[in-house]
Symmetry: C2
Subunit: 327 residues, 2 copies
């Protein structure tokens, strides 16, 4: 059994716990939290909840530590720090800082002879993989990534910070017309506005000025100003009833040409339709944790990404079975 | 430069030649043929055409030999044979015989310290990869593979063997209703007939009995009897004008559940829409040939499949660039 530790018990940590339940070769040992452990109720009856200050006591009991914190402030510190003591997996997703994060995890993991996998999940993660496969197969071509329809936590939070807003949920929606153009192989140049729209569901205080709030949302730089944005004011009841879930998904499309004179067109499309963004992200991370365990057993150390992992390492199945049944 | 040899110059061999042209790190050295070399005209001005009996003279000049023969009789002999002398890549696609083929190539390649990659292409190949990724991420789920719309060479050949038929082209067509059911996450059990239809375009001799030919097609065991089959009799002119290409494609869909009580549904879909089946297959093989070269340089030997190759090996890009731009 591959023994797993979870650091951080929010949506992602709970998703990891659920994904482990449905494997046959993995076992959750403990959840580590910055909160008072007695206040954290987990689902796995035979796993422990411990304060994070006890984590080093578990070095001999945990094969892979999964870091479930946020990319803004948690993971930049936690992943290099815990790579000193554990094999680690994270879902670091601040694209611009990936090179620096990689170097820091690599240094720590090489020094301690551990294996660290950064930026797993679906984007970065499965979407990144499909960009690599697409570029490798069709070197003469174009990449397109669309997200949604799904809830963007960052955009929802941005709306919540507006004066008079009680709660908000923002959906990123890919534009069908743009998707169709890309699929046609015409290699369109698409602006930000042409690729996605943003739909906002907002609960406001009784006395709030809706016109001002709608204007503040639609003109917010970086978040909404470059998009066609729709704002719906709804009641708290409707928010809870219709917008309490975290669906997401998206599309990675590679269009490219082959032939002596590039006379033939091809379209490779990878898409996800997810009821629960955190649970799917967790499911990817758990599969990669299996690979981390196996590669470390083979003596591999240092930082890696999904690009460095052969698919066979992800699956709880022998090479012979895989060749016989899935090839 | 990675130096490539091609054995067999049909549609696939020509596709390999075209794909190599559009890489920056690979070079075609020679095409080997069982025909009289003077009768074979290739497109690459600085590559040689040689009879296959000269192939062992090229052991020091070729890094990877790509085998472009058929799976029925060529590859079962050629891949183990040439793995004695070269790193080899093939697109062996007789699913039932993959385990035996793997063992034979593995024995030869291990003895000679070469690297052999079998069954690359898109199915087996990219579709297989997506089955492995899907099973690893969503262990509680179902796999679906649909093919088409595309030309099946085997089914076209079967029609051509009927008395009175001059030429034929058979398209395999996935049934939209079945695709939609699968995408809905309802995990339907689909019969052969519910998944695909078969459309046949047939040129017959002037005196032929069309009713008999249509009946022979529609009742042909294994090929057509289990499908809803449509037969269109057309002229040779129409065949040449509208049915001379080799488009193909298909869909690999994994539907699965996550959550403590499997309460959330997810759909992963990978699809291909290809103008030229042989050129796309060739493009996959060429990307994997790059991986074969690199892995052999690292000292890896023996038989492998696409499951054993980390994606980073496929792309002509540094690990740093890949992490910065594609992750």
């Amino acid at each position: 059994m591959i023994r797993i530790g979870i650091l951080g018990y929010g949506n992602l940590g709970r998703g990891i716990e659920c994904a482990i339940k449905h494997t046959k070769d993995m076992k959750l040992i403990a959840v580590f939290t910055r909160r008072d452990p007695s206040s954290v109720k987990i689902l796995t009856s035979d796993a422990k909840v411990e304060n994070v200050d006890k984590i080093l006591n578990y070095q001999d009991d945990i094969d892979v530590l999964i870091l479930c914190g946020g990319s803004a402030t948690d993971l930049p510190k936690q992943t290099p720090e815990y790579a000193k003591y554990f094999n680690v997996v994270d879902s670091f997703d601040t694209h611009a800082n990936i090179p620096q994060h990689f170097e820091r995890v690599d240094d720590a993991a090489k020094t301690s002879h551990h294996f660290g996998l950064i930026s797993s999940g679906w984007d970065p993660g499965m979407f990144s993989l499909n960009r690599v496969y697409g570029n490798a197969i069709l070197p003469t071509g174009c990449d397109y990534t669309f997200w949604g329809k799904g809830v963007s936590q960052g955009h929802s939070d941005a709306i919540r910070r507006i004066d008079g807003v009680v709660d908000a949920r923002q959906y990123t929606v890919p534009v069908d017309k743009a998707l169709e153009e890309v699929r046609s192989g015409s290699n369109p140049n698409l602006t930000t506005r042409q690729k996605h729209t943003r739909e906002c569901y907002v609960v406001v205080e009784d006395s709030a000025d809706k016109a001002r709030i709608e204007n503040e949302i639609k003109t917010m730089p970086n978040y909404f100003a470059d998009y066609d944005t729709t704002v719906h004011f709804i009641s708290m009841e409707e928010m809870k009833k219709n917008h309490s879930k975290l669906p997401h998904g998206g599309f990675v499309i590679r269009t490219g040409k082959t032939g002596w004179e590039n006379e033939h067109n091809h379209v490779i499309e990878y898409s996800l339709k997810l009821d629960s963004n955190p649970e799917f992200t967790a499911s990817v991370i758990v599969a990669y944790s299996r690979a981390v365990y196996r590669l470390h057993k083979e003596g591999k150390i240092g930082a890696h990404t999904v690009f460095d992992i052969a698919p066979a390492y992800l699956l709880d199945m022998s090479a012979e079975e895989m060749r016989a049944h899935l090839l």
